[in-house]
Symmetry: C2
């Protein structure tokens, strides 16, 4: 038996993983970035097979990781996590630099960044895992605390996007007993859940121009669960 | 150029990974446990090639993950993180249950646990990475916050043990400018650093029976850096 609530106790950071070139680059929000070997330091990350960045990482053989500051706004996470690089240039208007390997690095709200050369690619199911040696690591803000997935879920009330390895279909979550007068509404675009009990405001009482705090979807599009 | 301080901005939890059988079981502290694929949910963890548990995971084909509570004392981390199962039975006196697959699960200070069947083993350098399907997940403490590696480093002043993928030889850390009157002392057993500047107490002023807060090593064995 899998209680999906238990999976929320696993800790993750929140990063922008970028790849490609000056001509064609893209980045996406990832919570799976981790060191897998100590000497030389090697890192791994997972990328959804549906992700626009997948081909960019495969073709360039490199990716960068921007470690986001705990104060990062949901607008940046919305841009990189809930929109596809197939439809829009996510780097447009962003503070981008290019690393030693030519890989793009998103600097907005970054407290550190890494550059990794992919040595191995593993098919892990819904995702590919890229493993490789750390070529460069730079600290941009020594005092800044990193954004964690827990902080994002608690403070920003965000859920994982569909392409995240940690994505959980909300139907799989064990239903906790809610007082019958409270309801939950789901954003059809990013799966964000508006929970009346947590928010203390009935969904119907929100203004008509209220938008999904994650992806900007209109209130009228929300689905009552 | 690698600034190793930048790597401290990557977020991890802190877990006890256990394997083996009722007759012969062992567990170790791990900060690398992460979901790598969403449906079915698959997890990965890394295990040092020097680790006693390596053969147990290989032989049994299963491992469990105990998610530790943020309040977990350093004694438990000392037992599982800085002692080897080759020399002592770490499960002695612990609250151990056996999962659906027969794998041991450490219950002490656990807020949740997972059982994983290993499907794939990857050599990533100093470590092996085990990847497999999540068979069981149970929440033990809904309200408990998980212990994070950052919390452990900050509040408990701990560093990664030698067998961790995130282990960093302290000589590689960029030296920050310290006032000359402050010194740092290193535990020869677990690499814990006593930093006079952070502690506000000179090492020499500590009582003679002071012990390493991580592994219990004697004060007299510490090495001045």
């Amino acid at each position: 038996m899998i209680d999906y609530e238990a999976l929320f106790k696993i800790s993750y950071g929140l990063y922008i993983v970028s790849s490609g070139t000056k001509e064609q680059g893209n980045g996406y929000i990832s919570n799976t970035v981790f060191q897998v070997s100590s000497d030389p330091p090697r890192f791994a990350t997972c990328c959804s097979k549906d992700n626009h960045s997948l081909a960019l990482i495969k073709d360039s053989g490199h990716f960068s990781v921007s470690v986001l500051h705990a104060d990062t706004g949901i607008d940046l996470i919305g841009t990189f996590g809930y929109r596809s690089g197939k439809e829009a240039d996510k780097f447009d208007g962003m503070d981008i630099s290019y690393g030693h390997t030519g890989v793009p690095v998103v600097r907005n709200h970054a407290i550190a960044f890494l550059e990794i050369r992919v040595d191995e690619t593993i098919d892990v199911g819904t995702h590919l895992m890229f493993i490789g040696e750390l070529l460069h690591a730079e600290l941009l803000d020594d005092q800044g605390d990193p954004l964690t997935y827990l902080h994002y879920r608690k403070a920003k009330k965000g859920m994982a996007p569909k392409n995240a390895p940690t994505y959980i279909d909300s139907a799989k979550l064990v239903k906790k007993s809610h007082a019958p007068e409270f309801a939950r509404y789901k954003c059809p675009t990013c799966s964000y859940i508006y929970d009346e009990e947590k928010e203390g405001v009935k969904f119907e009482e929100l203004p008509d121009d209220w938008e999904c705090p994650i992806c900007g979807e209109k209130k009228a599009e929300f689905i009552k669960l």
